[in-house]
């Protein structure tokens, strides 16, 4: 048993303007723009491959509207 870094993000979907800068900033290709839109009509950012997130916060840093909260923890891995 080893430990593995696990990350996850929460997007403020109503504040997000769907600029897509987080999508290109993510080194692990976790993010995409949702097919759904928010009240302003923007396709907000969302996790497409949540298991690949390592909580590096790159997406949060580049977000011009401070819409992303990043969480990170260590989990036991079985391999």
């Amino acid at each position: 048993m080893g430990t593995k870094i696990k990350g996850a993000i929460l997007v403020n979907e109503e504040r997000c303007k769907g600029c897509g800068l987080c999508v290109v900033a993510c080194p692990h290709d976790v993010l995409t723009l949702s097919k759904k839109v928010n009240a302003k009509g923007y396709n907000f950012a969302t996790m497409e491959h949540p298991d690949a997130c390592v909580g590096c916060a790159s997406c949060g840093y580049v977000c011009p509207d401070a819409c992303i909260s990043v969480y990170r923890t260590k989990v036991e891995s079985s391999n």
């Binding site: 990350g7 303007k17 800068l21 916060a57 949060g60 011009p64 401070a66 909260s69 990043v70 969480y71």
Partner: protein, 252 residues
């Protein structure tokens, strides 16, 4: 459990409360938002929210005061360094900064910029150089690149008619009143972390009575440039950085 991770002790990054919940009016992906956020984070980390006074410009950042939970004064177009001079002299214990675009700082406000720097006012000047007049519809700015198309030079800037891109930050280095001058960008995580360090230094300098600090942010205006936000960042790296290379220009 999937949702177990969303606990306060696992939180590594979130919006600082110094930036309030008012939605910013900037176009999606605009560099102004990233720089606003960095300013708020630095003010938060330094614990100087109650002691900081910002001066908002005319330009896309004209409403900057709506988004920061701190004192702000709006200035007439280009006059932010003059207003900052008065405020800093009246309140020497305050951290006073201006926030200005290239039209504001390098066109209509050239005199105020140069003379505030020449007097060595103990202020921080934050300069958003997106090489265009974003707010008014994408007209040519003094900093517009050679050959770059804008609404007032639709065939590209022709230096025989329009003069050369004005590298005003390089000019400010020559002035004895300036003590810290650096050129930064906010196009990726690494550049953002670097820029944040520069901002912190710029704010700290306000208390040292050694002169003016100027931080130029080479920036994008994806609407004015007519590109997607991601493409605008790429275009900036390829084209803007040649004319406005990143790095420290003066630090004494």
């Amino acid at each position: 459990m999937e949702n177990d991770i969303f606990k306060p002790e696992n939180l590594v990054y979130t919006k600082t409360p110094v930036l309030n919940d008012t939605p910013m009016h900037y176009c999606p992906g605009c560099s102004h938002g990233v720089v606003h956020k960095l300013v708020a984070e630095v003010v938060d980390e330094m614990g100087i929210q109650e002691d900081t006074i910002g001066i908002a410009p005319v330009g896309c950042a004209v409403f900057a005061y709506r988004y920061f939970e701190m004192d702000f004064q709006e200035a007439a177009h280009g006059r932010a360094p003059a207003v900052a001079t008065a405020i800093k002299r009246l309140y020497p214990e305050k951290y006073v900064f201006t926030y200005q675009g290239d039209g504001d700082l390098a066109a209509i406000g050239t005199a105020e910029t140069i003379h505030a720097c020449n007097r060595g006012e103990n202020i921080l000047i934050i300069f958003i150089n997106n090489a265009i007049y974003g707010m008014t519809g994408g007209q040519m700015a003094p900093t517009t690149l050679e050959g770059m198309k804008t609404s007032t030079c639709p065939y590209g800037r022709d230096t025989t008619i329009n003069g050369y891109p004005l590298n005003i930050t390089d000019l400010l280095v020559q002035l004895k009143g300036t003590r810290y001058i650096t050129r930064q960008s906010v196009h990726n995580a690494a550049s953002i972390l670097k820029a944040k360090k520069a901002l912190k230094k710029g704010f700290q300098n306000c208390m040292e009575k050694k002169g003016t600090s100027v931080i130029e942010f080479v920036s994008t205006c994806n609407s004015g440039w007519k590109m997607s936000p991601a493409k605008a960042n790429e275009w900036m790296v390829e084209n803007m950085f040649k004319a406005y290379p990143l790095g420290d220009l003066k630090d004494i």
